[in-house]
């Protein structure tokens, strides 16, 4: 798998809401290679603070060499990214990791994103929309704290011709409650299903267990603390349900993931 380290120019910075931003980066090699569910490591500082790179899912790519990331400001790194103006160069390493497995023809597909977990699902949706007719249906379910975090993203999915159901914590758009509630009422219809999810751990856990129960295909994109993103530091582990024959007790999320078959994960 080829990946690159490059200095990518920020071509555009969009402020989706107060603390959610979308950066468009010019990095043709990465745009060309990236597959949905893969991520990039950004140097989110001009100096050494913060010290480590920060991982971000590829939100979408374009044939003219752009890579987008969608992020929420949490701490020093994302603050720095939010403060960058177009023209700034960011050091990027990517694309990295194992992305989503595309669904089999004839399945009903459901993408369930919570918060910034929506980022990689849009890339997946774009890829699926190339062969929309391969799938019985494609549903998108998005959850967030409040309506305004979802509006831009909702219309992005809708432009791909995918119906979007929403759930918000404050009830300001769609279902008042968790996005997982929406899944429950869907999973009965139209088998076989392929679920793809990314978002807060409890959300993904709930979906994973539901899918296990109903024996549905389900992939989840996980997060851990990463130093290198390229499989070198062995820092980014999560426990395997069972050790491998050679005694490995952990997955390395940056290499074995970030996308995993939800059934392979020890949901805590």
């Amino acid at each position: 798998m080829t990946s690159y380290q490059t200095n990518a120019e920020i071509l555009r910075k969009e402020q989706i809401t107060g603390d959610i931003f979308r950066l468009t980066l010019n990095c043709p090699e990465i745009a060309d290679q990236a597959r949905p569910g893969q991520f990039i490591m950004l140097k989110a500082s001009a100096k050494n603070t913060p010290f480590l790179r920060r991982p971000f899912s590829v939100h979408q790519t374009s044939i003219n060499g752009r890579v987008q990331v969608l992020f929420k400001v949490l701490g020093k790194g994302t603050e720095y990214l939010a403060s960058c103006t177009s023209g700034t160069l960011l050091s990027v390493v990517g694309p990295l990791g194992r992305g989503f497995t595309l669904p089999q023809k004839g399945t009903s597909v459901c993408l369930i994103g919570g918060g910034m977990g929506i980022a990689p699902l849009f890339f997946l949706a774009k890829r699926l929309s190339r062969h929309h007719d391969h799938y019985t249906s494609i549903k998108v379910m998005l959850g967030a704290a409040t309506a305004k975090e979802l509006l831009t993203l909702k219309s992005d999915f809708e432009q791909l011709g995918m119906p979007v159901e929403m759930a918000t914590d404050d009830g300001s758009a769609g279902h008042h409650g968790f996005v997982t509630d929406l899944v429950q009422s869907t999973i009965g219809e139209n088998p076989p299903w392929a679920f793809y999810t990314c978002g807060p751990h409890p959300m993904m856990k709930k979906i994973a267990l539901l899918c296990r129960e109903k024996d549905c295909f389900c992939e989840a994109s996980l997060e851990t603390m990463m130093a290198c993103g390229i499989g070198a530091c062995l820092g980014c582990v999560i426990p395997r349900p069972l050790p491998t024959e050679s005694g490995e007790q952990y997955f390395h999320v940056c290499k074995d993931g970030p996308v995993f078959d939800a059934g392979d994960i020890l949901w805590k």
Partner: protein, 308 residues
Amino acid sequence: MEIGKPKLKVQLGSIQLKNPVMTASGTFGYGNEFTNYVNLHHLGGIVVKGISLLPRPGNPPPRIVETEGGMLNAIGLENVGVLAFINDKMPFLKEAGTEVIVNILGDTVDEYAEIANKLNNIKGISAIEVNISCPNVKKGGVAFGADPKMVSAVTRAVKDNTNLPVIMKLSPNVTDITATAMAAEQAGADAVSLINTLMAMAIDSETRRPRLANIIGGLSGPAIKPVALRMVWQVAKTVKIPVIGIGGIMNTEDALEFLIAGATAIEVGTANLINPAITGEIVQGISDYLSAHRLESVQEIIGSLITE
């Protein structure tokens, strides 16, 4: 006056490196992870992730924490074990076009001896680097590297079981690093490398829990460079065998400081995680520095610190 391309070759005991820039164990995987970013052929050497007799799963997560100017790691020496290393990793490494140095670790002196023995006749290995910052299970978990006597014992055990040059990698968590360096030298080590990480800790004040599952981890990165540089200087003044400088090297300038302090070669660690191409850039940077200063060879700067 025209000067040709500066000479970068350095000699580490019986092995010659094409330049003094190597990678530090645990930060460069088994080399293959970096082929997208740096031409391994350009490096002085690759030191691989520490290898034990049997595979080790490592510590539970979280294993890494970011700190000011550095990071803590408590990987817990996860590795594939010596046999899988030989079978799965060496085929790639021996074609990498650079010196391959195998970092080893053990719980007992005998274990070190046995790994050394297993690696002895494997083609493509240039040297062994011995990580003695691990706890000696027979001595209540005190690190081998904490005590000159244990350093001697491990050095001898490894030397007795290999024909390869042996580099003892010293722990900085000691009162007097020249004492452990001398112990290694007297016991027959061909070189010493230093420093390994500083024992350290981080706490989340909101949860009041340690940030590492292992509680304690090793501090690396530019934060520790001044300590590493001091130790390298002290050791280089004390021993006659070559010294390899490690600790917080992020760029050419840092690498030069270690060479000037007396290191014959350097290992780049944490910087690989942040800039996977950094080692190649440092090789070029050292060459440029020598040209700019009209020096013919890197030898001219090694140990050249002017202290009046």
